[in-house]
Each structure stands twice: as C-alpha cells, then as structure tokens.
C-alpha cells in the first residue's frame, strides 16, 4: 500500500473510532443522567431494559426512530427540518481536534489519536462550537410558537454573554502555554506539577461556569426552561429531530469536558507516570472526561435554575471583568517575568 493510501485508511479508521465512540458515550451519558438523578432522589432509575437498565439508551433510540416526527402546520418547513442537524453538527465537528490520546502504535503504524491536529485547534473549537446556537435559534424561530421563539432568543443572548468570558478564560491559558494547538498544550503538562489548574485556577472556574452556559445545561438552561417556556426551543419537536437536539447537547458536553481536561488537567498525561503507555493515556483522558461529565449531571440535579436577569448580571458584571483582569495579570506576569525575577532575587538577596 502506498503511504498516501495508508494515511487515508488510517484517517478513516480514526474518524470512525472517535466519532462512534463519542456518540456511544453521549448515549451512555443520557442513561447516566437518569441514573444519577434517580440515585440522588432515592429512586432506582431505569432498570427494566437489560441488566440494571444498561440497554435503556438503545430502547430510547429505537423509540425515537420509530415515533412520528411531527412538523407543525404553521412552521417554516425547511428551516424546521434543518435546525436539529444545525444544532448537532457543530458539536460533532469540534470533536475532530480533541487530542484523546498520545501517539498510538498499532500494527506498526504510529499516529496521533485525534482526527486532526490543527495548529489553531482552540480557535476552531470556539468558532465551530459557537455555531451550535444557530440550530437553537433557527429551531425556535421556525417552530412558529411563542415559547420556542423565546427559548431561541434566550439562547442567543446567553451565548453572546458567556462566549466572551469563556474565550478570555481560554486565552489566559493560551498566553502561558503559547500555543493554540491542544496537543501542544497537553504536551506541556506532562507531570502533575505542570497542570495548568495550578497556574490558572480562576480561568478554569470561569471556563467551567461559561461551559455550563454554553452547553445550555443547568443552572443556565434558559433555552428550554420548562416552568416558563414549556420546553423552550424544542417544544414542537418530536422523534429523532428532538433526539438530535439532545445528542448535540450531550456531544457539546463531551467536547467542553475534553477542552477543560486538555487545557487545565493535563489531557492524556497520566499523573506520576510521564512515560506511560499510550493505552493508559487514553484511559486517563477518558477518566478525566468522565469526572467532568459527572460534574455536569451532578450540578444539574443539585442547583435550581437562575433567573434570566441574574444570568445576564453574572455574565456581564462579574464574569467578564474577572476574566479581563485575570488575562491582564497573566499578560503582565508573562511580559515582566525577567524583571519580576530579578526583583524577587534582589529582595531575597537584600533580606539575607
């Protein structure tokens, strides 16, 4: 086989493994969501399909596929059909640049375990990820229902407010690692002491809060807000179209968790074992991402929803200034590092 052909085959295999893996994990997360919520409320959760209810996502999938997919009479038919895909696709596209593991060696072929390694991977994630809100807005608008429209509008306002703080938080990390390439950022955090969480805890906190808002999760799920908007932007959706919205949400959760792990928690590096086998690296990455996914569920079943004005206040009056100051201090420390060092040395020497 010629090297070019081999490369294409490897690439196709990687796309399938990573993409199907992600959809699988998204399905499992839906089950985990129901199980975790049940356990937190002294219930059992789904336990009828398969052992301990493990096949529940499969049953849900079959049901979603076979149910009738209604299109309301007054809806804009094409937009209505298009919106779920528009909501789910960006999350699935962003997964392409996530570095799930170090260089993998199988059958004598060595390849990095991510679909592509973009130099501007973070830019790509932010740019494409930001598009997912269009699916929500278009879906809300095309449904021709007041609740859906309000849900879509809220989603857009929320997205604009929180994307800013999120980008600023990510920039702080980019500033200290000097790269937009996720793999590069991960490579710089080989040992526990190098994890960015130690240097940028505030940025992590900001990112985490913004990530909850970006993925439309509790306590910021204003786009669906059941008590006020029935079900928000997907009120009129049913069957597989509805499932696509959910799939998009869960994929976005996985991507956000992966970004957080890669930027702050050393990505696929194994604590205390800097030279670990690649398989261990992938396991470490998955374990870290699972912790974050659990956090998403955990928060959802703990906190009540914010009020919309509180959300906006938090976004513009608290998060944005803190993110700006954090970035400013980071930049100042980096650019004046030599002077600070000499000043410190001078102080230490003077004292001694």
């Amino acid at each position: 086989m010629s090297p070019e052909l081999l490369e294409i085959v490897v690439w196709i295999v990687k796309v399938h493994v990573i993409f199907l893996g992600m959809v699988g994990v998204a399905a499992i997360t839906t089950l985990a969501e129901r199980k975790v919520s049940a356990w937190m409320q002294y219930r059992h959760g789904p336990n009828r399909v398969g052992p301990q209810g493990l096949l529940q996502p499969l049953a849900d999938g079959v049901k979603f596929i076979f149910k009738e997919s209604l299109v309301p009479d007054g809806a804009n038919k094409w937009m209505f059909r298009f919106a779920p895909a528009l909501a789910a696709a960006p999350a699935m596209l962003t997964v392409a640049v996530i570095p799930f593991g170090p260089d993998v060696t199988l059958f004598g072929i060595t390849t990095p375990f991510s679909i592509v390694d973009l130099d501007i991977g973070l830019m790509y994630i932010l740019a494409i990820g930001g598009l997912s809100v269009y699916g929500v807005i278009v879906g809300g608008w095309a449904s021709n229902s007041k609740y859906s429209l309000l849900g879509g509008l809220r989603a857009s306002a929320q997205m604009v407010s929180y994307e800013l703080s999120m980008i600023l938080a990510i920039l702080s990390v980019v500033a200290i690692s000097g790269s937009l390439d996720l793999r590069e950022v991960v490579m710089q955090q080989k040992t526990l002491g190098e994890w960015n969480i130690l240097y940028q805890p505030l940025a992590f906190l900001l990112f985490l809060i913004a990530a909850f808002a970006e993925t439309n999760r509790h306590p910021f799920d204003f786009a669906e807000c059941e008590p006020e908007l029935v079900s928000g932007f997907h009120t009129e959706y049913s069957a597989m179209r509805f499932a696509l919205f959910a799939l998009g949400e869960y994929c976005a959760m996985i991507v956000m968790s992966s970004v957080a792990v890669a930027l702050w928690f050393g990505g696929f590096s194994v604590p205390f074992l800097p030279e670990a086998h690649w398989a261990l690296g992938i396991v470490a990455f998955c374990a870290k991402v699972s912790c974050f996914l659990f956090l998403f569920l955990w928060v959802r079943w703990t906190l009540p929803r914010f009020r919309f004005d509180q959300l906006m206040n938090l976004g513009w009056k608290v998060m944005l200034p803190i993110a700006l100051v954090n970035l400013f201090i980071t930049g100042a420390v980096i650019s004046f590092a030599p002077q600070l060092k000499s000043l410190w040395n001078g102080l230490v020497n003077g004292a001694s």
Binding site: A38, W39, M40, Y42, H44, N47, L303
Partner: protein
C-alpha cells in the same frame, strides 16, 4: 399588608460558590443512600387484615356460600356496584343468589357491603390488583367472587373484633 423581610445575604452566600459546594456535597451523599421507591410487581404492596381490598363472598366449610340474597349489601352499596338476583334452595336457609355480580369498575372499596351483611357472607379481601382488557371482564360473577372462608379468616376476625368493641360500649351506656 404583609411585609416580606428578605434575609441579608452574607458575603459567603453572595459568592455563590461555597454554597454551591455545600449543595453538591449534600446531593453527593444522597447518591449512596438506599432507594425508597418500591419496585412494584416484584415487591408487592404490604397487606394485613386492615387492608380493604375488593369484596369477596365467603364459601363456608360445607362448600355453600353464606349469602342468603337478602339484598342488604345491594342497598348499602353507594356505587350501585352490586346486582343480586335471588333464588330458592332446599337448604334450611331457603334462599341463595342465582346471580351475584359486583362491577369492580364501579366498586369504590368502601366496605359498606361488609358492614351491611347480616349473614357474614361478604368481606373485604386483601386482593388489590385489578386489570383486564375489557369492561365486561371486570364485572365479577359468583364464580369469580367466591373465596374459601380460610382465605378471609384474618379479615373476618378483625371485623368481629371491631364489632365486639362497639357492642360493649353501647351496652354500658
């Protein structure tokens, strides 16, 4: 006029995060607690003699039902669930029902039939489950209502106990 006093939030509370952590720790602890939901078909409902299930007719030890088709229960029934067609028999009691039907969809499990019966012929059993595919199938006839006395013995004893207490208190007054 109602004056709602809002609690002044401390700095710690206004920071949200410590309070959120507190909430999270509570829900995390609940994760490991035993569910209190009953897994219904596998874990049946608790029953004892106080359980007022569906009414059933007593079949005495000699194989005959105790009912004399007096119609008291039919009259007592607030839901008009009971339909009795009286008939004659050669036994000393002379009468027994030719037809005795309880429409289980109408029965409200009030127990009035049990109270009204002068012959201790109808009692509330502990049977609670009621499901079928047609309405007609839920109109129970004699054959479906008959239960051996032993199956209802606990309830019968209980009712006797109740009634005795009532008798005592009324005789003293």
């Amino acid at each position: 006029m109602v004056i709602v006093r809002r609690k002044e939030l401390s700095l710690r509370e206004r920071l949200y995060l410590p309070e959120i952590a507190r909430g999270l720790s509570i829900t995390f602890r609940k994760l490991f607690e035993k569910p209190i939901t009953r897994q219904y078909p596998e874990e049946p409902l608790p029953k004892d003699e106080v359980t007022r299930g569906q009414p059933r007719l007593v079949v005495k030890d000699d194989g005959n039902i105790a009912c004399v088709s007096c119609g008291m229960c039919e009259i007592a029934c607030p839901a008009y669930a009971i339909t009795i067609d009286g008939g004659e028999t050669d036994r000393p009691i002379e009468r027994e029902p030719k037809k005795f039907e309880i429409d289980m969809l109408r029965c409200i499990l009030c127990g009035f039939c049990e109270e009204a019966c002068p012959k201790d012929a109808i009692f509330m059993s502990d049977e609670l489950e009621l499901a079928d595919y047609s309405r007609a199938a839920l109109i129970y006839d004699l054959e479906k209502l008959k239960r051996p006395k032993s199956a209802l013995q606990k309830r019968i004893d209980y009712v006797y106990r109740l009634n005795n207490r009532w008798r005592k208190s009324s005789s003293t007054s």
